[in-house]
């Protein structure tokens, strides 16, 4: 397969995929992340569990550099974030409500946006770009729908299209924000399987999810977040009612214990 992993030899292969150290972020007076430290090894899928406002989206933004931390550092495959971004190592799948689904772009157009970092001033697609996009679409099994408007896809297909954008970009670290929200069971299984395959290839996946039930099938490890890291362990351990109670308060523990 001609996946263009545009040779980033800079970070040594032994470097962890993601190292976050002492990350603290404020929005005005509000403390969004408090001294967060995380290390993810390559090829793992890590679930990020926490209630709304627990700092999951802020953590993603800080890793991608769109939010400036007050303190702390992020290292991606041994590189500082800015250089990692320039190399296209970080791929991002936004949560549904952050995307304008009426935007007149095809699936192909969206996936091609993964290649912009490698293209010239006008982002004119070349042969290698078209091949990378075709391979990425093939990988997520959306080749047939390449010409479809992005908003005309189902919830699960939309997520796969954005994963394809990350693949076309050659991303080694994929960040997915609530990929299972508004996605039916079958699509969820398809996405889970796809992410497991990508992890088996050595890619690292950090995924925030409300879907606690599906987490053990998806993730190798899980983080319980409430502005700080309450726990970083196996999904089963993190999902124990007494642990969830610390992150969510008591209403959700009943559900998790079902």
């Amino acid at each position: 397969m001609t996946f263009t992993r545009t040779g980033h030899a800079a970070g040594a292969a032994s470097d962890p995929a993601l190292v976050v150290r002492g990350l603290t972020v404020h929005y005005g007076d509000v403390l969004a992340l408090d001294d967060v430290s995380i290390t993810l090894q390559r090829g793992t899928i890590c679930g990020l569990v926490g209630m709304n406002g627990s700092g999951k989206s802020t953590l993603f933004k800080a890793i991608m550099g769109s939010v400036k931390p007050d303190r702390g550092t992020v290292t991606i495959e041994g590189l500082p974030p800015k250089r990692a971004r320039k190399r296209g190592i970080v791929g991002y799948v936004p949560q549904s409500e952050d995307v304008d689904w009426s935007f007149p772009l095809s699936v192909y157009d969206v996936v091609m946006m993964g290649r912009y970092g490698f293209q010239n001033f006008t982002r004119h697609p070349r042969h290698a770009d078209r091949e990378a996009v075709a391979a990425a679409l093939d990988r997520v099994e959306l080749s047939d729908l390449a010409g479809r408007r992005i908003g005309a896809l189902s919830g699960g297909q939309r997520k796969r299209a954005f994963v394809a954008r990350g693949l076309a970009q050659g991303a080694e670290v994929l960040l997915l924000d609530e990929p299972f929200a508004g996605v039916d069971r079958r699509s969820e299984a398809t996405i889970t399987e796809l992410l497991r395959e990508l992890a088996a290839d050595g890619r690292t996946v950090l995924v925030s999810s409300h879907d606690l039930e599906g987490l053990p099938r998806l993730a190798d490890e899980a983080i319980l977040l409430l502005r700080r890291v309450l726990m970083h362990s196996t999904p089963d351990e993190v999902l124990r009612p007494e642990n969830l109670a610390r992150a969510f308060g008591f209403d959700l523990t009943g559900r998790a214990g079902e």
């Binding site: 991608m64 769109s66 296209g88 970080v90 995307v99 007149p104 095809s106 912009y116 408007r149 954008r165």
Partner: protein
């Protein structure tokens, strides 16, 4: 009078030729830019920048510099001020826009009223299509070509910025710089269109063509072609109408655009209010016929 003569007669005057050139140039640049404005939701921003340039135009006349310079300075200043008010106070963006542009517009009106000059408020507010000098024409053509070239060359980046700035950031591009580029191009475009339709109606040229094209296609690349074609065609029709009806040219151009938008809003095959039903009904008939 035969139709050919009806069409050719206005063109026998130099001032009409210049009027056509200025308006079509403005229409094309506005038509292209409007695709991004309507998708990002920056209509109010277009309105703001077009009004905020008024004091710049007056000062430019006063100082004897090209009006484009004054307009550009105030257009950029307005954008910077809006950003400043929004980011350093609790005032929300639309309110910040409202405060800044109305204040600058008022400054322009006050300046005109106290400055003893031959500056005609009406010409700035509503355009002065029939009084385009050769120098004005050169200015509009020059700025128009530069603005259009940047828009076309950077169209993919601008679309990425409009669609998903977070991804732009994630792949090492600078979304803030792209946003600033788009706003700078907006200020330039307003300057280009000022002479044709005036401060008050520039926003129509910045919004209507893009909004119309958006109802006609699901492809952004096609929108970028359809929108300037609609804008240019409406401009030409509008000027002819204004010539024969002896009506305000800027107003006539915008009225034509509004009429075309209305037709598209009603009858566009996929996204028109009535057209959508007709398309569905036709499809249903076809299915029934095939059964």
């Amino acid at each position: 009078m035969p139709l050919v003569d009806l069409l050719l007669e206005p063109l026998s005057y130099d001032f009409m030729q210049r009027a056509f050139l200025v308006t079509v140039t403005a229409a094309i640049v506005c038509g292209v830019l409007s695709c991004w404005l309507v998708l990002i939701g920056w209509s109010l921003m277009g309105d703001a920048v077009s009004h905020a340039v008024l004091p710049g135009v007056v000062l430019a006349y006063l100082l004897g510099t090209p009006f484009a310079v004054g307009a550009l300075v105030f257009g950029v200043a307005a954008v910077a001020l809006i950003g400043l008010v929004r980011s350093t106070s609790r005032v929300k963006e639309d309110a910040a826009i409202g405060v800044v542009f109305t204040t600058l517009f008022a400054l322009g009106i006050v300046l005109i009223s106290v400055v003893p000059s031959q500056t005609d408020l009406g010409h700035i507010l509503f355009g002065n299509l029939l009084g385009v000098s050769v120098a004005d024409l050169a200015q509009v053509l020059g700025l128009g070509v530069v603005t259009l070239a940047i828009l076309v060359l950077k169209r993919r980046d601008l679309t990425l910025y409009a669609f998903d700035p977070t991804h732009a950031n994630a792949i090492g591009l600078n979304p803030k710089a792209l946003g600033a580029l788009l706003l700078g191009l907006l200020a330039l475009t307003v300057v280009v269109a000022l002479q044709a339709v005036g401060v008050v109606l520039v926003v129509a040229m910045l919004i209507i063509p893009g909004a119309t094209a958006y109802l006609l296609t699901d492809r952004f690349a096609r929108m970028l072609v359809i929108s300037p074609i609609i804008a240019a065609a409406c401009s030409i029709v509008g000027i002819y109408l204004s010539y024969y009806l002896d009506a305000a040219s800027g107003g006539m151009v915008v009225l034509t655009m509004g009429a075309v938008f209305t037709l598209v809003y009603l009858f566009a095959p996929q996204h028109g209010v009535i057209g959508r039903r007709l398309t569905t009904a036709a499809r249903r008939r076809q299915v029934t016929a095939n059964v």
